[in-house]
């Protein structure tokens, strides 16, 4: 196979564009994964956060060459999981989604935390979400939703 091969939402793909292309642009424009939002394109807001080998990364600051051989997960893949369903319900129960623009990144930030720390403290949740800006909620509902999901989803992480 030619190009830069990597796993995207569980499927192996080979990207034949430039190694310098921005992961954010490629995910949105080539693979039509529109859950990945562009909020600043400078690595500051977290709206384009994805998981690369389970680690939270801002897709705007990742070149395609760097994902070769790695696993990229966006909400389009993650939403099929049980873990997502628990998080989604916890967010819904507290009406933690307002404008929604930060939410896909926020959910992946929660996943990145819970997979290494299934029972986090509130402070740990706040730290884990601190790279994702939300301008709507004041964060309480989101933080509490993640804490509730950790309880409800006991054993999933």
């Amino acid at each position: 196979m030619n190009g830069l091969c990597f796993w995207l939402n569980g499927k192996e793909l080979c990207y034949d564009g430039s190694a310098g292309d921005r992961l954010l642009d490629v995910l949105r424009d080539k693979y039509d994964l529109k859950s990945v939002k562009c909020g600043c394109k400078e690595g500051e807001c977290g709206a384009c956060a994805v998981l690369i080998d389970g680690v939270l990364m801002n897709a705007c600051c990742v070149a395609m060459g760097a994902v070769e051989g790695h696993e990229v997960l966006t909400v389009e893949g993650y939403r099929e999981t049980e873990r997502f369903k628990v998080l989604s319900k916890a967010f819904a129960d507290l009406s933690a989604v307002q404008c929604g623009f930060c939410i896909p990144g926020m959910v992946l930030a929660a996943e990145a935390l819970l997979r290494v720390k299934p029972h986090p403290t509130e402070e740990e949740v706040r730290r884990a979400l601190s790279g994702n800006i939300c301008r709507c909620t004041g964060y309480n509902a989101i933080v509490n939703a993640v804490l509730n999901a950790a309880k409800e989803g006991d054993g999933l992480w």
Binding site: R28, D29, D32, L33, K34, S35, V36, K37, C38, G39, C40, K41, E42, E44, C45, A47, T74, V75, E76, R79, L87, S88, F91, A92, D93, L94, S95, A96, V97, Q98, C99, G100, F101, C102, I103, P104, V107, E122, E123, V125, R126, R127, L129, S130, G131, N132, I133, C134, R135, C136, T137, G138, Y139, N140, A141, I142, V143
Partner: protein, 714 residues
């Protein structure tokens, strides 16, 4: 708790959290499968200059340049006045003003072409001074009582100046609009916006088509906070003109730097306040309020009106004289932001009252309490507080949350050591709905319900969900009255081709005003309900009978039918070595009437509270001596993260409003207004109080603390 207040799952929850919602930048193609051209703006490089020439690089086939010569109708965007151009006239009036737009299929090519555009300017000296600016777009005066006599008879007269800075709305989704020429000749414009009918009027005029020639849809919108009230009309006209010229769909989405630097934000302000005190009571206020409007008037008239009406705060002051000016400067036009002029004047009066109390040797909580307005008292515009003023009870609630009174006295005593504490408090109102007679005379809202033969009901209104939840709360009201399951009532994103004009999504009015129209419509539909047929019910706004008519020329009458109220307290610890201010706790009691969904209202209160704390502390944005805003990225303009205020507690206090649905009042803007003076009072207290460090401006950052401490006389 009322049944209607019980929280339900938001209707847009699944689509948003699953990443399926389509924001304007997410359309790969148009709905009919056409390719979308990318439009990018050429922004002026100088604050004031004559544009002598624009020289373009050779444009490849399929790439087009658009400017004012391509506007088929009127190159003026109607907002309040008509002074804002679609594309610049002979001169540019601020850095970033759109000169023209480059349009073409490939974004990378458009970017390259943009870098090759040469604009020749003849520079003119810009006006960049709010304090000394003489050109006022608006100049208002009002008052009551005998102010001169009160000052002449005063025991003591206090004078002080207060300054507030820019604040950017910083919705997470930047501004973006798209225009598509349709086969029937109409222009379809859609995007991230709050007010479909504002955009409708503006685009129809720019294209010269009349109202039937265009229709406007609100796409899923990633936050607004006022920032998408006026600006989408301008950007909507620009993409519509480009689509008209090329005959193809055109989309323009701002990047974050453009958005921070070149789109409207909260007006910086300079307030000069003068208070007369006799026998320990405030007898007169003279307030001189100046707002930095920027280069065009946009929404400054209405922002200034709300600001100056709130000049005396929630205090009953018998003699009042207020002047307000919106000063023209050669900077980006300021516009709407949650609070809409009131945060600036509430900051001034709250700090002024704190300082007078300290000078009199009285605790400021007690001093303020002696002046709280009560039900039946006259407002600043000689209207009435028609309904109970629940502030004393709310103050007790906040006191119970954080021991406000005890800490307020304890922290006022001299402190030593590196870490010192303070607690501040504020009490404010937010006038519910439009200022004055706007709702009755200008907006004249109409809302409809359409019942289909299958028994489902659709809400037809023009208020957009920008995160505040109207896609959920409007159907919730209707399903409640019709006793229908919520899934049988829907509210789609408004398209002006399908919905009546129920007014803009602004002024904390949607739920209170339009929600009430829908409640009444639902009751009528229930009365005439017939199974198996399509039925429609329409309701029109009617001003409540108790309202004292408002006259804008004299600023007399009820500026608002009712008020939402809040009491905020902020406790801080200041590190006198590093200047760092840690917010130990932020506590608020909010009266927005009956919550039509408790979680949604709490989400509004908490989100607004945090924005207010950001405004007071870290959100610093300024222009330099050339008129350029330097804080145009998230590296240089900081907004609060999940770690900045870990303890933020909002409580609801319910004082029902009989003319709002189930007793609901305006909610969205209220929570932002109170926190800034509470924060600054806390910082000032931690630094030893007014006699050591008199603070009078926001934002107040760690750097400001250090600069202030360095002034300390050893």
């Amino acid at each position: 708790m009322k049944e209607i207040s019980r929280s339900i799952k938001k209707k847009d929850h699944d689509n948003k959290i699953e990443g399926r919602s389509v924001y304007v930048d997410d359309y790969p193609l148009t709905a009919s499968g056409k390719r979308i051209l990318c439009g990018k703006l050429i922004h002026a490089a100088y604050a004031k200059a004559r544009v002598l020439s624009v020289t373009l690089p050779p444009l490849p086939e399929g790439y087009t340049y658009v400017d004012r010569n391509d506007v088929p109708g009127d190159n003026n965007v109607n907002i309040v006045l008509d002074d804002t151009p679609v594309f610049c006239r002979e001169t540019v009036e601020y850095i970033g003003e759109p000169i023209g737009m480059l349009v073409g299929p490939e974004e990378a090519v458009v970017d390259e072409l943009l870098a090759g555009v040469k604009v020749e300017y003849d520079q003119i000296e810009p006006m960049l001074d709010l304090r000394n600016g003489t050109e006022a777009f608006f100049d208002y005066h009002f008052g009551h009582g005998d102010v001169d006599r009160a000052f002449a008879e005063a025991d003591k007269v206090y004078e002080e100046e207060f300054l507030t800075g820019y604040q950017d709305q910083t919705y997470l989704e930047p501004q973006g609009m798209m225009a598509e020429p349709e086969e029937d000749g109409r222009m379809f414009v859609h995007g991230s916006l709050q007010c479909p009918y504002y955009v409708h009027g503006a685009v129809a005029r720019a294209l010269g088509t009349g109202p039937e020639g265009v229709h406007i849809l609100q796409d899923v919108t990633g936050g607004g906070f006022g920032g998408k009230e006026d600006f989408p009309s301008i950007l909507g006209c620009q993409v519509a003109v480009a689509a008209h010229k090329t005959g193809q769909p055109v989309r323009c989405v701002y990047n974050r730097r453009e958005d921070l630097e070149f789109t409207p934000k909260r007006h910086p302000s300079l307030c000069r306040y003068k208070l007369a005190v006799k026998d320990g009571r405030v007898t007169a206020l003279e307030a001189d309020v100046r707002f930095d409007a920027g280069a065009y008037s946009t929404l400054s008239a209405v922002v200034l009106q709300r600001g100056i009406i709130a000049a005396p705060g929630i205090y009953h002051i018998p003699n009042v004289r207020v002047t307000g000016k919106a000063i023209k400067t050669n900077t980006v036009p300021c516009g709407a932001y949650r609070g809409f002029g009131a945060p600036q004047t509430f900051f001034a009066i709250e700090m002024m009252m704190n300082h007078v109390a300290q000078d009199l040797g009285v605790d400021s909580i007690t001093f303020k309490q002696q002046h709280f307005a009560k039900q039946g008292d006259m407002t600043s515009t000689q209207g009435r507080y028609h309904f109970p003023v629940p502030i004393p009870a709310m103050l007790d609630e906040v006191d119970a949350l954080c021991a406000l009174r005890r800490k307020h006295q304890a922290y006022s005593l001299p402190q030593t050591g590196r870490f010192r504490r303070g607690i501040g408090f504020s009490a404010i109102f937010h006038g519910a709905g439009f200022t004055g007679s706007g709702e009755r005379d200008i907006i004249k809202a109409t809302a409809k319900l359409r019942k289909y033969a299958d028994g489902t009901v659709e809400v037809l209104a023009s208020n957009g969900d920008i995160g505040q939840g109207v896609r959920t709360t409007f159907p919730k009201i209707v399903s409640h009255e019709l006793n229908l399951p919520l899934e049988k009532v829907r509210y789609e994103h408004p398209d002006t081709a399908r919905v009546p004009d129920s007014g803009p999504t602004v002024a904390s009015r949607s739920l209170m005003t339009v929600g009430e129209l829908l409640r009444r419509a639902a009751i009528r539909l229930r009365d005439i309900w017939q199974d198996g047929v399509e039925q429609e019910v329409e309701e029109h706004y009617k001003e409540p009978d108790f309202v004292i008519p408002f006259y804008l020329d004299r600023f007399e009458g009820d500026a608002y039918p009712t008020y939402a109220w809040s009491v905020s307290a902020v406790e801080v610890e200041v590190d006198t070595y590093t200047g760092r201010v840690q917010i130990l706790g932020a506590y608020g009691s909010f009266d927005v009437g009956t919550p039509v969904d408790e979680n949604i209202v709490l989400g509004q209160m908490e989100g607004g509270f945090l924005q207010g704390l950001g405004y007071a502390s870290i959100e610093k944005m300024q222009y330099d001596e050339k008129g350029r805003i330097r804080n145009n990225s998230f590296t240089d303009y900081l907004v609060p993260t999940a770690m900045d205020v870990p303890k933020l507690i909002a409580r609801l206090h319910v004082e029902e409003y009989p003319d709002g649905p189930y007793g609901a009042k305006g909610a969205g803007e209220l929570p932002l207004v109170g926190p800034p003076p509470a924060y600054l009072e806390a910082v000032e207290m931690a630094l030893g109080g007014m006699k050591r460090h008199r603070l009078n401006r926001i934002p107040y950052s760690a750097e400001d603390v250090i600069l202030e401490l360095n002034k300390e006389v050893p």
